[in-house]
Amino acid sequence: MINLVREPLIFEISSPGKRAINWPELDVPETKGLLSEVPIREDLEDFPEVSETEITRHFTRLSQMNYCVDFGFYPLGSCTMKYNPKINEKVAAMPGFTLVHPLAPESLVQGNLRIMKTLEKLLAEITGMDAVTLQPAAGAHGELTGMMLIRAHHVAQGHPRKYVLVPDSAHGTNPSSAHICGYTVKEIKSNEKGTVSVEELVKVMDEEVAALMLTNPNTLGIFESDICQIADIVHAKGGFLYMDGANLNALAGIARPGEMKVDVLHLNLHKTFSTPHGGGGPGSGPVAVKKILSPYLPVPVIEEKEGYYYLDYQRPQSIGQVRSFYGQFLVIIKALSYILSLGPKGIREMAEIAVLNSNYLRKSLEGIYHLKYDTPTLHECVFSDKFQKEYGVSNLDISKRLLDYGLHPPTMSFPLVVHGALMIEPTETESRRDLDMFIEAMKAIDREAKENPELLTSAPHVTYVRRLDEVQAARNPVLRWEQKK
């Protein structure tokens, strides 16, 4: 329906005197003269005034302008855009969870604490690690927390060290998190297989290096087969191996980071464990550690004694708190629900089918789109626009054209090691029919690139808006609505 109608901003619909909410009459005597010494707002001028009817229509229409997993295939690489089961939303919305104040006495929130402790334990088992904190609010926040744990250990050893190694294929949050933790980032180049070069690592690893941040499988979808050796090299110099666990969907039930000698990793519940991404969050980025780092975990730590759960703030070596309270509680519920619904066999199947789907796509598009690395891949694969570039068509054009086919494009912004990347992650929830539709669309677009490149460079054609001018947006920023005077 939506293509037909241009939806204004709510402020443009607003008119004085309309309202969407009524409050009960004040049931206490009014006190006069309150706030008389305080500067008071004259008015909430230009704040919207609309009816509930208008609110509902506005957001119903806005919603219909969004592509989403509930609508279709969403192969955004590295984002693990799997289906979000509805039962998880239902349990997370139970008033017994949503109405609880975070500072309620522990004795009144045993259910919540048990949920969190249970998820910690299950994540520890899935990752093969010793302890878990659920506090971080998203993946990058988990990275920062993880790096802080590493730093805290080094500090405890007398010296925080200076550098953190990050492969050139890493997600941008890795260097950024290391930086915010006070480290200088040293990039290490990928080798011709698309993985970390052990030789190079040996060269740069020394006692000023606090850690190596490794993504595994890496952002090319390739498993870092030398990981144990890599860990040994890092450990030999007293460094830590940090693993970006955003790609755990490829490994869960198959292999455990703990057994790969990883010291600390974060998980993205909003990826691997199917909590909805919400158009940009909330996420949840638990951090799992080996024993050596557990004294530094953020407070409070959830403890259990004879079936009674409590929050332990008495952790003298703790890095402190990285956010208010205990974590993204409702997201935690959804992730736990997901894991329980799958069980051990289901978790393994999730990884198997994710990898199967990805390899099926890869096989089907090989030769048509360029694959820089022919190393086998797991849950995702990264093509490039090299073949299509000959016709003046970029990964951006291919992506925009996919929109005309009613499909969501792959990731383009990274990994930086592949120029013109098309990073495709189908996930296990996709059907063969959806995979085939995507394959057919990609093939058709390749043909179009040859026959009618203009069709691609001017795409999309049938979306609510056509290609948007991002340069103008940045050059001449309009970041809020303002009343025309």
Partner: protein, 448 residues
């Protein structure tokens, strides 16, 4: 529920297309030595009906709902109109990723653009971002941002700052060779001005103020702003109960350079602490230092208005370690909820709700302090929470109230030993007169 859409037949055919014989073979790049040789030791699988039972049992173990609660201090129990849950739970809002493909994400993008506008209107500042994790990390990001702008290693924070926020600021700044100094509060419960003036004799990047502060007291932002700016520092204001902005003058109009805070009051349930919603606004001049995503308006090739993520050269996916913050996934859906909530309340509804909170809290304060031995601790003006002083250690009184199924307020003694006989009491529109009176009666009995 079952989410896998590949049948056994599909599996076989797909493997054969790939040229493999078994699923096992997909994983040959993983060295044998690290492959898991057993099933994970996990419970389940649970059928949907069993999952429901499991979580119902957990919810039952929470007995908080059997108590009449006056807890606040950074998380507030406000009424959420049905339309907020209804609209925000639409799959089109819940299940997309960050709007990297603007042409098919105009819904999310336009909603965030509206969110940014609402935050600017409330804070009285020029620009706002698309959200941060929560109020505490917002406070930390604010002081780091001020440091990027000003370059002075000294950051001043108030001792009446929400303790959670303080802890997070300390965690974030610890590794960065920054000096965080605490400014004490005065008898009014406000930041002590002379201490601030004294502290500002050494150059600082920022003075952070919470208002209403952790004691529920509204700060004299105008004066603090003058003091701060005179010394060349930035004024950052953090707010944990932004509903107060329905009545109070916008901090931006009183001199704040940065305003950040916790948006939980705006349509997010308490949810035992998360997900919540950090917001941040600032003056136009600081836009390049603002952390987090920003949505901007632009046009498409046909000249139609549209919205995109913009100014991303501040962000890690472009700038990597040189980004203003490492934040990537933020609290988009919470911001959407806040947007629906604020637009539903609208100009009248928000003002009225703030007024109702103010009035109910005033009534509660009056009734409670009419009990012999119970007095108001601080003289400064308050909004919907206040600190009471009791004739003996609050922990004892609190325990006696708990026996009567009342959670009378938050203890302050641990963080502020001088306030061990005090508690922070919070009132919202959900406290009917009857509930307030029940508290008063119970307290009378306890103190008898």
């Amino acid at each position: 529920m079952n989410y896998i859409s590949i049948s056994d037949k599909d599996k076989k055919e797909m493997l054969s297309r790939i040229g493999l014989n078994s699923l096992e073979e997909l994983f040959t790049t993983i060295p044998e030595s690290v492959r898991l040789k057993r099933d994970l030791n996990l419970p389940g699988p649970l059928a949907e009906a069993e999952l429901l039972e499991y979580f119902e049992a957990r919810a039952q173990e929470n007995t908080y709902d059997q108590y009449l609660s006056f807890l606040g201090g950074g998380a507030y129990d406000h009424f959420i109109p049905a339309v907020v849950d209804y609209l925000s739970s639409r799959g089109e809002f819940l299940s997309p990723y960050t709007p990297y493909q603007p042409e098919v994400s105009q819904g999310t993008l336009q909603a965030i653009f509206e969110f940014q506008t609402l935050i600017c209107q409330l804070t009285g500042l020029d620009i706002a971002n698309a959200s941060l994790y929560d109020g505490a990390t917002g406070a930390a990001e604010a002081v780091l941002m001020a440091y990027r702008v000003k370059g002075k290693r000294r950051l001043l924070i108030p001792s009446n700052l929400n303790p959670q926020y303080k802890r997070v600021i300390l965690t974030y700044t610890k590794n960065l060779d920054l000096e965080v100094m605490e400014i004490p509060y005065d008898q009014a419960g406000q930041m002590d001005k002379s201490s601030l003036e004294e502290a500002l004799k050494v150059e600082a990047s920022v003075v952070l103020i919470q208002s209403p502060n952790y004691f529920g007291v509204i700060e004299d932002l105008k004066t603090l702003s003058e003091v701060t700016h005179r010394a060349g520092a930035l004024l950052a204001v953090v707010i944990s109960e932004p509903l107060a902005l329905g009545l109070l003058e916008a901090p931006g109009k009183l001199g704040a350079d940065i305003v950040t805070g916790e948006g939980q009051s705006f349509g997010l349930p308490l949810s035992y602490g998360g997900p919540y919603l950090g917001f941040m606004a600032c003056k136009k001049d600081f836009v390049r230092q603002l952390p987090g995503r920003i949505v901007g308006q632009t046009v498409d090739v046909e000249g139609r208005r549209g919205f995109v993520l913009t100014l991303s050269t501040r962000e890690q996916h472009i700038r990597r370690e040189k980004a203003t913050s490492n934040i990537c996934t933020n609290e988009g859906h919470c911001a959407l909820r806040a947007t629906i909530y604020l637009e539903t309340l609208g100009r009248q509804g928000l003002k009225e709700l703030a007024w109702i909170n103010l009035q109910k809290a005033a009534y509660a304060l009056k009734q409670l302090t009419s009990i012999p031995g119970v007095s108001r601790k601080f003289s400064g003006p308050t909004f919907n929470e206040f600190v009471l002083e009791f004739p003996e250690n609050w922990e004892k009184i609190s325990a006696a109230l708990k026996e009567k199924r009342i959670l009378g307020g938050l203890s302050l003694g641990q963080r502020y030993p001088e306030l061990k006989d005090c508690a922070l009491v919070t009132i919202t529109e959900k406290h009917s007169r009857d509930k307030i009176d029940r508290y008063v009666d119970a307290l009378k009995e306890v103190l008898r």
